[in-house]
């Protein structure tokens, strides 16, 4: 019997565009996952702490304000400092293709750009989080 996959979805920074993250929250729940959504205006510290406290299997970050290059690496950095770098972090939003490789260097596993189907995201999470 496998337990449910636990996902933290978060909106770092001041961006209020939450249509995408809310749709993903709902799609992941419909796919049988347990989803904790932080709401908007979270600092990277708050997100990393929540990920650790909630013992999630994966963290999804959403940013549409253009601040992703600053905010996403902060989250992975803090997770690392707290010894939780094994929690995979993925992201999405208005993120130009040319930023993706840089974000990957900072440990963001994958960036989903606009037009991605929730099915692809669900599939990715299942493949990434291998539960015992």
């Amino acid at each position: 019997m496998s337990r449910k996959i636990r996902v933290l979805l978060a909106k770092p920074g001041l961006d209020g565009h939450d249509r995408g993250v809310k749709i993903i929250a709902r799609a992941l729940r419909d796919a049988g996952m347990e989803v904790i959504y932080t709401g908007i205006r979270q600092t990277p510290e708050q997100i990393a702490n929540a990920a650790i406290q909630e013992g999630v299997d994966i963290v999804g970050l959403s940013c549409l304000s253009g601040a992703h290059n600053h905010l996403f690496p902060r989250v992975t950095q803090i997770l690392k400092e707290k010894g939780a770098e094994d929690i995979p972090v993925i992201g999405g939003g208005i993120i130009p293709g040319e930023d993706i490789s840089e974000l990957e260097k900072f440990g963001i596993r994958v960036i989903f750009q606009p037009g991605t189907s929730t099915e692809d995201i669900i599939k990715y999470i299942h493949e990434t989080v291998r539960l015992s």
Partner: protein, 551 residues
């Protein structure tokens, strides 16, 4: 005549139509708009039997304004072509404004960065990474002086997308105009100043609803006496739609917010006819061409009735719904971005056929970043082609009288009214937002829309059909992290140069007035003139009013 059409239509259905339907089914069993309104195959005069021309449509420039707010519409003057722009610093944005004005844009529309919108200076820890990203960073009056340097504020009208800090930016605008020698009474423009949709859909709120509504009514009161040509609010459906609502929900929730503002102002002691003509609206123009045109027409008609019947407005101007339109950002695709030029053109055309007063056309690259200069040029040219080449601006309400459009206009009005009645029964828009009702409704529609795309019930060209392999888009506008450093440096210099004692005093006065009931505009004007920063002024108000937390 009507009977004849009915009989003839029945005959046609049994013969000509039936012959085809027995051989070939239609593409769908039912055809529906985004608002789940079922569209019939064919509309004839049979569908418009119960429309009374004089009652339901009337004449342009007259109640209920279904056909437009001016008698000559674009035969007199085109809509204002107003591209929303702002990025990085005031210095860079000022250059973009001059570029746009040089290319025939007729009004300005300021995009502010998120720290400015949420009341943080560029040196605040929460501003890290956000400075100059989604708009221009404004910390003090100095930035505003640079932003409008060389722009004739007595001639150009300016719209500012600013909400919880609208009162501060408006004060800065007045102060800069004064420095240019332009009197407040001639200033023309708009502040968005619509906090309710921030709670429901957009997210740049600071204070709880009650003090937020007080700031808004203070603005109404101040402007009617000092800046009579200023649009004191732009009650916005745009972001509600971007968050995923249907066309009907966009209309209904926007007008419900409008009702809440009018009620608040009336409760604050203002006579409805003293401020109502300065209320303006802001809608989205989405993909479904006919539904959008119908929505704009229904909006005018419904608001006119609300103002006359519910609020007993006496002046015609109080009943007139004037609106700005932006094409739907959420319909822009990252795939085959040049296709967005075509989407935007149709959406812009719908806005014009719906009688908009001003228009922003999105740029093709906005699914990636802020638009590049080249993309903005195409977007502006799209409007100019509609205006100068298509001929649609030569007739008032060109599609009025279309059977399908008139039926749809009425249906949207009825369905929106049902939502408004539901919101009334919950105690109004503020209560409905606090209960999460409006957010839930928007979220449900957004999810359904996404499902339709994923199951291919809804085709998005280039996204879920007709895909191609493509290279990443080049020449994307990038905001350098240097902007943040530059902005912080500028702020710290100003803080050193200004009269600290004066700043301390004006902020103390502001807090005192905020704690009482007097109008807050005068002390905020004093504060900005003494170069108190946006963050300091917002901070003072945060201390008095507290902060809103999303439930």
């Amino acid at each position: 005549m009507g009977n004849n059409v009915r009989e003839e239509q029945e005959r046609w259905e049994k013969t000509t139509l039936n012959k085809v339907l027995t051989k070939a089914k239609e593409r769908e069993p039912v055809f529906k708009t985004t608002s789940q309104i079922e569209m019939e195959r064919l509309y004839t005069s049979r569908n418009t039997d119960d429309i009374d021309y004089c009652r339901d449509l009337g004449f342009p420039g007259e109640y209920p304004f279904t056909r437009g707010v001016q008698p000559t519409m674009y035969r007199g003057r085109f809509w204002t072509m107003r591209q929303y722009a702002g990025f990085a610093t005031a210095e860079e944005t000022n250059k973009r404004y001059k570029y746009l004005l040089d290319h025939g844009q007729t009004g300005l529309s300021v995009a502010f960065d998120l720290p400015t919108q949420i009341g943080y200076d560029s040196d605040h820890p929460l501003a890290e990474g956000e400075v100059g990203k989604v708009g221009v960073a404004i910390d003090t009056l100095k930035d505003m002086e640079i932003l409008f340097d060389g722009i004739p504020m007595d001639k150009v009208s300016t719209s500012m997308t600013i909400n919880s800090t609208a009162v501060i930016l408006l004060a800065m605008y007045i102060a800069v105009a004064e420095k240019q020698g332009v009197k407040a009474e001639v200033l023309q423009g708009t502040i968005q100043n619509d906090i309710l949709k921030e709670y429901a859909a957009r997210g740049t709120y600071i204070f709880p609803p009650f003090p937020s509504m007080r700031i808004i009514t203070d603005i109404f009161a101040y402007c009617k006496d000092h800046i009579p040509r200023w649009n004191t609010i732009s009650i916005s459906g745009y972001h509600i739609r971007e968050a995923g609502s249907s066309a009907v929900q966009e209309l209904a929730f926007t007008l419900a917010d409008g009702i809440a503002y009018v009620e608040a102002a009336v409760q604050a002691g203002l006579d409805v006819d003293s401020f109502a003509s300065r209320l303006s609206f802001f809608f989205n123009s989405h993909n479904n061409f006919l539904e959008e045109i119908a929505k704009f027409r229904a909006a005018r008609k419904l608001w006119a009735k609300i103002m006359k019947e519910r609020f007993k407005a006496k002046r015609d101007e109080s009943c007139m719904l004037r609106f700005h339109t932006q094409t739907a950002g959420c319909t822009l695709t990252a795939q085959q971005p040049d296709n967005n030029v075509v989407r935007v053109a149709f959406q812009a055309l719908a806005a014009v056929l719906g009688g908009t007063q001003s228009l922003h056309t999105n740029s093709r690259d906005e699914a990636f970043a802020l638009p590049s200069e080249d993309s903005v040029m195409i977007a502006l040219r799209t409007q100019q082609i509609i205006a100068y080449e298509s001929g649609v601006a030569d007739v008032v309400d060109l599609l009025g009288g279309s059977y399908a459009l008139e039926v749809l206009t009425n249906e949207i009005e009825e369905k929106a009214m049902k939502y408004i009645e539901k919101i009334d029964s919950m105690g109004g828009a503020i209560k409905a937002i606090e209960a999460g009702y409006i957010q839930q409704e928007i979220g449900d529609s957004a999810y359904q829309y996404q499902k339709e795309i994923e199951t291919k019930k809804r085709i998005i060209v280039g996204v879920n059909q007709f895909q191609v392999e493509e290279e990443p888009l080049q020449n994307i506008l990038r905001i350098s992290p240097e902007v943040e450093k530059y902005q912080r440096g500028k702020l710290s210099r100003i803080k050193k140069e200004r009269d600290q004692g004066k700043v301390k005093d004006v902020l103390a006065v502001l807090k005192k007035i905020a704690e009482g009931t007097e109008n807050m505009l005068p002390p905020i004007l004093e504060a900005v003139k003494s170069y108190a920063s946006l963050g300091e002024i917002s901070g003072a108000l945060r201390e008095v009013f507290g902060e809103y937390k999303e439930s």
